[in-house]
Symmetry: C2
């Protein structure tokens, strides 16, 4: 719409959620995403296993001056690694199938993202690869889904457009006249994704050792189901401790006597 | 986000406003615009003096299957020609300068566009060329401006992103639970842009003949100011008739006696 504005004023509007591109294919699209993030006041970009490696000069060329966003982007081998320090993860998902997770519109998600930030927690949004979208394992790492309210007769949404819509809604929802958010009333700390992952590893190991996951065909789906279950809401650090204890105790087998 | 869906279901959600790209430069962007229009349920595309001519195969390649929108696109030599059959024209304009026209957000414009459609009137939205944006003469053809609520620190908005945001808001605003719109209470007919243009030509001619526009440096700006004035609200066909009469009468000079 307008020409290059430089990126001098490209300062994140904190607490700014993390945009996570999962297995992005085209560097041009990564550049377009950075540009859209700049438009929406987003700043934090993470790339999970970009197909053509990173950095890619074409991304900078397509970003229209959003260099600082690209300069600060980090690369991660897996989604699990990319979300480790986050407390809430959203997945953009045009056609959720048989998944029991809360589904939000982009507008609803934007409000939610500000509410999460206001509580001092960090949120991230997963965007899938250009053609295939997020797979079931990616979605299993998310707490909630975001489904855009767009023409169901033409669902082919460009990656940078998907980020643009979210950034646009996020920017609008920043309005200071939003009602003050309820803060946590006690000192409960929400577990981050690394702590949850640690618990999932413990649970999986225990299930493996117990023989519960012995069918190799069914194992991935069962693990995913467990992951979905434990992602369903925020888990506190205390709750995780308790769950760890439960698993350890159960794994020990029946008490003699 | 997802792969190609084909364009079989690419049916306009009528009354769908007209997207008018003014002097677009890159065929890729025109294709990206068509794709974004498909996402938002928009269908009618007009091109004013596309830089590289039309049709351009690259546009079809970038549209992700929104072929029907591109197939139906029309080309126009001027903005005036492109808006001739419309009743209301909006101009996307990131930084309105010294222009007295109503300024709407994308969200406000979407509501307005549905209200216009509900009254049986046709609306169009002007989008400027990639680098320069709309010029003053383009904007003079519009009744209202649309200014997106986005990060003022990074205004470089891609053309297809600008169309995407409007299409997204337009699609959401279609909601049937919107309050019923006030219909026109009498049989007044809103003049279309061709009728208004005809009046402007009459007025300009009269002003030229009267010597009012004799300063060649000031002439374009004065005509633009007149145009802005008469664009400010909807003009009815009856009002235009009256105005024509006023001009004709004044042009005749002072009555003898």
């Amino acid at each position: 719409m307008t020409g290059r504005d430089g990126g001098a004023d490209l300062v994140p509007i904190e607490p700014s959620p993390v945009v996570i591109l999962v297995r992005p294919q085209l560097a041009e699209n990564i550049g377009g995403v950075a540009r859209a993030m700049g438009n929406g006041g987003l700043f934090h970009l993470r790339l999970v296993a970009p197909r053509d490696g990173w950095p890619q000069e074409r991304a900078w060329r397509m970003s229209s001056g959003a260099d600082r966003i690209l300069d600060a982007a980090t690369v991660h081998a897996t989604v699990v690694d990319a979300v480790a320090d986050l407390h809430r993860v959203f997945a953009t998902c045009p056609r959720p199938r048989h998944i029991i997770k809360p589904v939000l519109t982009a507008r609803g998600a934007a409000t939610e993202l500000h509410a999460i930030g206001a509580r001092g927690l960090r949120a991230g949004i997963l965007f899938g690869p250009e053609r295939a979208g997020l797979d079931n394992d990616d979605i299993a790492c998310a707490d909630s889904l975001i489904r855009y309210d767009l023409n169901p007769g033409f669902m082919s949404l460009n990656l940078s457009q998907a980020v643009m819509i979210l950034g646009y809604e996020w920017y609008i929802a920043r309005a200071p006249e939003a009602p003050p958010r309820q803060l946590q009333t006690n000192e409960t700390r929400i577990a981050n994704k690394a702590e949850l992952e640690n618990f999932m590893a413990h649970l999986t190991r225990a299930c493996d050792e117990s023989g519960f996951l012995k069918n190799p065909q069914k194992r991935p789906g069962m693990i995913r189901n467990l992951r979905h279950f434990f992602q369903r809401g925020e888990v506190t650090a205390q709750e995780l401790n308790t769950l760890h204890g439960v698993i350890s105790e159960l794994a020990r087998g029946p008490k003699p006597g």
